[in-house]
C-alpha cells in the first residue's frame, strides 16, 4: 500500500485576481520503502508540494493521505504526532544557531516528550549514525555545510520517522559533499527501511538515489515513472532537457556543426546491456563502421546506464536494418539526423 497518497492536490497563494496557482492538480503515490524523486526547474512548485505532505502548507483543495489518513482531517495534536513520523531536511539546514550539534539533535526528542535521562544516549547514537560523534559540542557556525546537513539528518531521524522529506537537501553543497550526503541518505534509507521523498532541481541527484521520479513543470506532474525508464526514454521536453543536461550530447553534435557521414544515433544501454559488445556487433552482423563520438557510463542508483553517440557509416539499407535490430533488442535508440 502506498504510504503517501496525493490526490488532486491544488494550492494557490493569494486571493482573487492576484491568486497564483502553484499546484494544479497533483496525483501521485509513494510506496513504503521507496525513494521517490521530484525534479523540476526552480519555481515549478516542488517545495510547495513537499510542504503539503507534512502540512507546513495548507492545500487549497485535494487530499494528502499518510498511511491512509487524510492530513487535513488531523487535529493540532494529531498533526504534531504525524509530523514526528516524518523527518524533514532543508537546503538551508535550518539548525538552531544557539544550540550545539547535540543540542539540535536533542530538540525533536524534547518536543516529543522523551524521558530526559534517555536523550543523551539517543543523541550520541544518532550523531554516530551520521558520522559526527566528534562534533557533538560544536555550534552550527563551526561546522561545514556537509556537517550541518548531517546534523539535520540526525535531527530528522531522532523520533524514528518512517518518512524522510528532503527539500533540495544537497543544493547548497559542493559536488563531493553532495555525493557523500546522498550516500548517507541512501545507506540510512536501506538500513532503516525509510520512505524518502527527494526534491531537487538536479537530475543527477535523482539518478543517484531514487527509484521513481515525477517531473514537475508549472504545478503539474508532466512525467512519472521508474528513474531508469524516464531517464532512458524521456517523453516530455522538460524531462529531455534534464536528461540532455546530464548527457551533454545528442543533438548538440549537430548544433555545433558536426556533419554526420552516416546515421547519427544515440543509444541508451541499461543494466547488462552496458556489457554487450555493441559496436562490434554492428560491424560483425551488418558490416557497418560505427564511429564512436561519445561513450558514457553512469549509474542510476545501482543500475549501470550507458550512452553511446555514434555516427553509423556504411550502406544505408544496412544501417536501417541495424537500427531495427537495436530496437528489437529493446534498447532505446534515437536517430538524431
Amino acid at each position: 500500500m502506498a504510504i503517501i497518497e496525493i490526490k488532486g492536490l491544488r494550492k494557490s497563494f493569494g486571493k482573487g485576481d492576484k491568486a497564483l496557482e502553484v499546484l494544479r492538480g497533483i496525483d501521485l503515490s509513494v510506496g513504503e520503502g521507496e525513494v521517490y524523486g521530484v525534479v523540476g526547474l526552480s519555481g515549478a512548485g516542488k517545495s510547495t508540494l513537499v510542504r503539503c505532505i507534512n502540512r507546513l502548507e495548507r492545500p487549497s483543495s485535494g487530499q494528502v493521505f499518510i498511511d491512509g489518513k487524510d492530513v487535513m482531517s488531523l487535529s493540532d495534536r494529531q498533526l504534531r504526532d504525524a509530523r514526528r513520523s516524518m523527518g524533514m531536511i532543508f537546503q538551508s539546514f535550518n539548525l538552531l544557531s544557539s544550540r550545539t550539534a547535540a543540542g539540535n539533535v536533542a530538540f525533536p526528542l524534547e518536543a516529543a516528550g522523551v524521558d530526559k535521562t534517555l536523550i543523551p544516549a539517543r543523541v550520541s547514537e544518532l550523531l554516530e549514525l551520521v558520522g559526527l560523534s566528534d562534533k557533538a559540542a560544536s555550534y552550527p557556525a563551526q561546522l561545514s555545510g556537509g556537517q550541518k546537513q548531517r546534523v539535520g539528518i540526525a535531527r530528522a531521524l531522532a523520533n524514528n520517522p518512517r518518512i524522510l522529506l528532503c527539500d533540495e537537501a544537497t543544493s547548497a553543497l559542493d559536488p563531493q559533499t553532495t555525493a557523500s550526503i546522498l550516500v548517507l541518505i541512501s545507506d540510512i534509507q536501506k538500513r532503516l527501511g525509510l520512505t524518502v521523498v527527494v526534491i531537487s532541481h538536479e537530475m543527477q541527484v535523482i539518478m543517484e538515489i531514487c527509484d521513481r521520479v515525477a517531473v514537475m513543470e508549472r504545478g503539474e506532474v508532466v512525467e512519472e515513472g521508474s528513474v531508469v525508464d524516464v531517464f532512458s526514454s524521456p517523453k516530455h521536453p522538460v524531462t529531455r532537457g534534464f536528461v540532455e543536461l546530464i548527457l551533454k550530447s545528442g543533438s548538440r553534435f549537430l548544433e555545433n556543426g558536426y556533419a554526420p557521414r552516416g546515421r547519427l544515433l544515440r543509444v541508451s544501454l541499461i543494466g547488462e546491456g552496458v556489457q554487450e559488445p555493441f559496436a562490434g556487433e554492428l560491424v560483425r552482423l551488418f558490416g557497418l563502421s560505427p564511429v564512436i563520438l561519445q561513450a558514457h557510463v553512469d549509474h542510476i542508483k545501482d543500475t549501470p546506464f550507458g550512452t553511446l553517440v555514434i555516427d553509423l557509416l556504411g550502406d544505408g539499407g544496412k544501417a536501417e536494418e541495424a537500427i531495427r535490430w537495436i530496437r528489437e533488442k529493446g534498447t532505446a535508440v534515437e536517430v538524431l539526423n
Binding site: 507534512n54 507546513l56 498533526l79 504534531r80 504526532d81 504525524a82 509530523r83 514526528r84 516524518m86 523527518g87 524533514m88 532543508f90 538551508s92 535550518n94 539548525l95 538552531l96 544557531s97 544557539s98 544550540r99 530538540f107 525533536p108 524534547e110 518536543a111 516529543a112 555550534y139 552550527p140 557556525a141 535531527r155 530528522a156 531522532a158 523520533n159 522529506l165
Partner: protein, 219 residues
Amino acid sequence: MLLTAQQILMLKKASLETFYMVSVTTALTVLAGVPLGVLLVVMRPGHILENSWAYRVVGLVVNATRSVPFPIFIVFVIPLTRFLVGTSIGSTAVIVPLTLAALVLMARLTETCLLEIPHGVIEAAQSMGASSWRIITRVMLPEALPGLFMAVTIAVITLISYSAMAGMVGGGGLGDLAIRYGYHRYQTDIMWATVILLVVVVQLVQLFGDALVRKFTRR
C-alpha cells in the same frame, strides 16, 4: 570641582531614586515588553499563531503609545497611575508611565530581533512536531537572545534618560537634581556631577550589555 557634604548627600539620594525607578521599570518592561514583542511576531500573517485582527489592534496601541512624547505621556496616564499606585506623585508613581513607555519600545525591539530569525528555522521546528509554545520558548527566544540583550540595554539607557523627567511629578532622581540645582539654582558643579555620573552609568550599562551579547552570540 569639590562638592560639599550636603551636595554629596543629595547626589546619593538622587542616585538611589534613579536606581529604584530604573531597576523596577526595567524588570517590568522586560516581563511585559518581551511577551508583547513575541505577540507582535507570532500573530503576523503566515506565522505560527496568525491572527491579523489582533495583530493590527496590538500594533495600533503600541504605535499610539510610542507617538506620545514622554512628558505628555506622564500627564496623560495620571488617572491610571492613581488607580494603580494610589497617587500620581513620587518615585513609585513615576514607575507607571516609565514602564508603559519603555515596554512598547521593548516590544518593538523584541519584534525586530525575532523577525531576524530565518523563517526556515521555525518551520523546521514545526516539521518536528513542536508546539507553538515550545517554538516560542525553545526556538525563537533562545535564537534571539543576543539581540534581546541588546534590546534590554537600549531600554535601560532610554529609561535612565526618561527617568530624568520624573521630577515633573515629584519622582526625584538624578535628572531632577540637575534641573533643580544645576539649572534653577545655578549650582553648576551639581549639574556637572550628575552629568558625569549619568555618562559613566550609561557607559557601564552599555559595556555590560555588549559583554552579554558577545557571550551569547554563536553565529
